[in-house]
Symmetry: D2
Subunit: 349 residues, 4 copies
């Protein structure tokens, strides 16, 4: 009963096999392995973006920070939701990689940026006054930090506001594929067709060992990105570790299958939880993350049975009246089994 995070899940066997194969012989280092050519082509095909620049790194923080640093100047600001990963969970990595850019925090329910909040923030920071930081980039996350998936219309609305002020848009796709299968649209529709300039396209949370692609639909600053990646210590000599994962991931629709499994598991888990008296979903379940609350006794039972997940937000205790409502975060991964889910629901019921 492991619901701590999808980044704690196992790797897909196809991917492990590919990594093992890649390391049986020799290969040129630093991204000159033949696997990378294939990955680049696959991503361009999948995104219908034959000119896109494609690079691989090993962590989501690296992908986001390097992407954003290539989009903003040190004296600019990045507009993002106040609950975004880049604000709350990267220990200031965007500030570090950008040379000290600011993050302007936006509001909106369920960790989705509201168009009004974005427009107000842009208007407040007029970008022609030397005393203020200047407009840099907009960063939106989907699946976001509260499990929400932006609709295509919502993505486009934000991109349109940004575009009107010539602000490029980054998408933090730590769970991009989970959002994609939830929407049922094409990768191009979710990104450049809606106005996204640069995407952090994650595999780590969806069954890989650690790889993220940065996809720059406008390749004008590709060489700068390469230099930043090297300078940031993120260019792997044994780069085939990254290429091999991504190639296996994008072959035979594995990426889509894994995310579909995770989303289905979450749907089953959410449905099961809702059948219990006194439970509630505290945010809509759009993909593979569930925010729910139920009586403390259910949490105690889960804890005693060894279930792993976060009480959310921090600071709620397992000690106290057994009927009091306690909220939690549960994340499913591609390998979360029906048996595991059902056992969990039985435990907390």
């Amino acid at each position: 009963m492991f619901f701590t995070s999808d980044n704690g899940g196992p790797a897909a066997p196809e991917v492990l096999a590919a990594v093992t194969r890649a390391f049986e012989g020799t290969a040129l280092p630093y991204g000159n392995d033949p696997g990378m050519d294939s990955v680049r082509q696959k991503i361009r095909d999948i995104f219908e973006a034959p000119e896109a620049a494609v690079y691989l790194v090993a962590t989501g923080t690296a992908a986001n920070s390097l992407a954003l640093a290539s989009m903003v100047q040190p004296w600019q600001t990045i507009f993002c939701h106040r609950n975004s990963h880049i604000e709350e969970d990267e220990c200031g990595a965007p500030e570090f990689f950008s040379g000290g850019a600011k993050l302007t925090l936006l509001d909106g329910d369920h960790a989705k940026i509201s168009p009004e909040s974005l427009q107000n923030a842009i208007d407040f920071n007029a970008s022609n006054d030397v005393h203020h930081v200047q407009h840099g980039a907009l960063s939106i996350t989907t699946v976001n930090e509260r499990g929400g998936v932006y609709s295509l219309g919502e993505i486009k609305a934000l991109c349109d506001i940004a575009k009107a002020s010539e602000i490029p848009v980054h998408m933090d796709g730590a769970r991009f594929v989970n959002a994609l299968v939830a929407l049922g649209c094409s990768p191009a529709e979710m990104t450049w067709k809606a106005g996204i300039e640069t995407l952090s396209f994650s595999g780590t949370k969806n069954g890989l060992l650690g790889v993220e692609a940065v996809v720059m639909f406008n390749p004008k600053r590709a060489w700068e990105f390469e230099l930043r990646r090297k300078r940031g210590g993120h260019l792997f000599s044994k780069h085939r570790f990254l290429s091999a994962q991504m190639e296996a991931y994008l072959s035979g629709d594995l990426w889509l299958k894994l995310a579909t499994k995770a989303n289905k598991a979450a749907a089953r888990l959410a449905a099961g939880i809702l059948k219990i008296k006194g439970t509630e979903l505290t945010h809509p379940v759009d993909a593979n993350i569930i925010f729910a609350s139920w009586p403390r006794k259910g949490h105690v039972a889960a804890h005693d049975a060894g279930a792993q997940y976060y009480i959310w937000p921090d600071g709620q205790s397992l000690d106290g009246p057994s009927d009091e409502i306690i909220s939690a975060r549960l994340v499913c991964n591609w390998a979360t089994s029906d048996a595991e889910i059902d056992q969990f629901i039985n435990t907390i019921s």
Copy 2:
């Protein structure tokens, strides 16, 4: 016939198996996997350093830069050889991670820092004048960029000079184990007993997929290191990828066996080359790297046969008089076979 670099070599089967095992189930993320406890203990035992702080990252540039950034302030300088990797091959990563520290370049034959050069540089930059950058750290590399291994006496002599000016010492151990087996000493003797404060202990070039340990014999700035690692995007969520490699590497003397094989291969290759008329070793062969020169016709033959290695330095052409002497760099890895070596020697003879 692959002599481009040891970072192009295959991974050891024991390590691949360990990585695969590590990803079959779930694990807590961000270094909280149980494997890390074991790795930390193994490294402390091997280095006879029960208090050492131990962290894993995936690239040598990250290890060096994060280690150095934790040792120097932005207004200080790092003393290093002018041919060191941190100066020539990291695209300014030490400057980036340190917030703009300087590198003061030292001289010495065969890429070894001479004590005189170090002493002169320290004296020149008096560390109490606000107009100059201040004394930061000394960084020494062994095996160094020209294949040289510092003797224990040489390491100690440099550390003593640094210590007299209260300058902490970093060792770039991109090929630490190759140097260790060349010297036949203990890891403690090569490091903290000689005066090293922080070590970049690499596995990537010696049969792993991508992992480097930073070992801080003085753990006073360990928490700062953890924050810098996270902020630099170098804290893996699926950290078990790093732990699993390192644990397999340090088990059953695998690390020593692999480096011994690489060094032996280089010795065989060097001996074979020297038998050819007109050849010469341009630097002493201390470990697994060979710098040698031989007539152009031998290079042409090697090239035609598909051998891979660097003409070194850049700028020498394969077109020209066939007897002219051309120099090259050849690196052996743990998997370089006798057959491969003998074939190469035959080819260039």
Copy 3:
């Protein structure tokens, strides 16, 4: 009728005479001029702080940024009001000088930080989680950006909260003397006795040509400050320009007299405005800054008569119904005359 800002006011004749005298002969450069010894001693005496480190720079942004950079690490956050000068008016200077620290924005009426807002922000950013930025410093401004002066009790309450979490406190004293004479307390009471560690003590806005003292009541990082000042290009070779101003300023209570005049002018101006029908003070007038609103026709008349001040906030037009209420900011300086004030009041009446 000049109410744009106190930084647009004239310099005091005593100060201009002192600067002229200082430049008639030769002097050692870079702060080794004899005037600096005298300034240091005067400031230590005035603040009853014999151990304080004292440095001069030429701009408020330099004083604030260098002071804060010496108090925080790059992976930490600076708690400040969302309307503070360091957030809104320094183009990211604190981020630049600190190497990318974050600013956590606090709330509170009239640009005063509320204790609840500070406590909540500290609690939210638990300072032992590697994923978050860490606690850095608290920065409070008095006179603040809306003209408010913190009472001694208010300063102490904020410092006590910070101290309980081991967070050092910076005071942005761009108008320190105006606040001091408003409170009628001693400089020590307003600073280190209340819990302030480092003060930006400005003279520029109060009749000088351009000089700010940074006063570090805890001198442990004084040498670091000196290095940061030099490295930031803020160490003057002809440092006597700074010393001469500050020495004249602190002689014969000139500093207090100038601020008293500015505050009195503001009180007269505020009283005059309030007599006009339809006017209102939009923030309390605690020192020399007035936020007030009155009918548009008064603004038009002032504008036509050549009066200079900011319509505040931006975006209100002088075109429109003549009785509509428009708000503005008016700042008095030491040289603002009663005649000027009375003329202005007559004009807008």
Copy 4:
């Protein structure tokens, strides 16, 4: 007998009067004072550069660092002489402002960069390899750190080499006017006509209180410069302090007259010294700086008489055999009198 540095000299009376006048009334802050318009026009006229962007700051380190930061990216290198001020005397300011760029140190006699040294360094750092720092800018200093003035031909030769590799050129003109009057050419000839893109045009060392103009002959990054200046704390609110100095300086050929006086004083001093037995000029005297050596007894006599200058290089003692040769640096300023010079020569004879 003050020969410590020209930055220790007095200010010209015309300049002091202008500063005093500028502060008698009110003025708009932050460079919006009317004086700045006049300064901008004067500099454009003098340099025959009607499109040039012109900004004022207060220190040479700020001028150099902000100029260079606007010319290079963090992953690039600045080519400069190893004895340049930006390398030896700014505590790493170029690294700080540029976000961690490197300085590549060049050689050449008398602190002049030799064309060979520049060409070799450019060739060594091939600018298309992601592992190396990239070509950034060339910075040349005249009058340089050993008193040398580049001829127009020498400037052009270096600029041509840089231009062939698309490397923009910065001139550190800490003593630009002293070099200009030494060459007897036009400001345009010494700068953009020879290939200089950006100039640090100093007044501080030539009779002002503290002001430097940055002149960008190519204004494409002017707005970036303004943001960097503000963010660096170098935008003065009472900017008229800077404008007033520069306007008086450029009026009635004052700038040329002051530098001519300083150069003549140095010529007289050098001639006088050379008449003494056992003396020698250790570098050519091209402008207002003298490097000379003479017997220790002369230094002792000078010291006893209260003469101020630097024994150069550091580390030579006034104790020892009286006939031993000791070397020194002597700098003349616009106000150095013939009497002072003659007294000094008599003293050391």
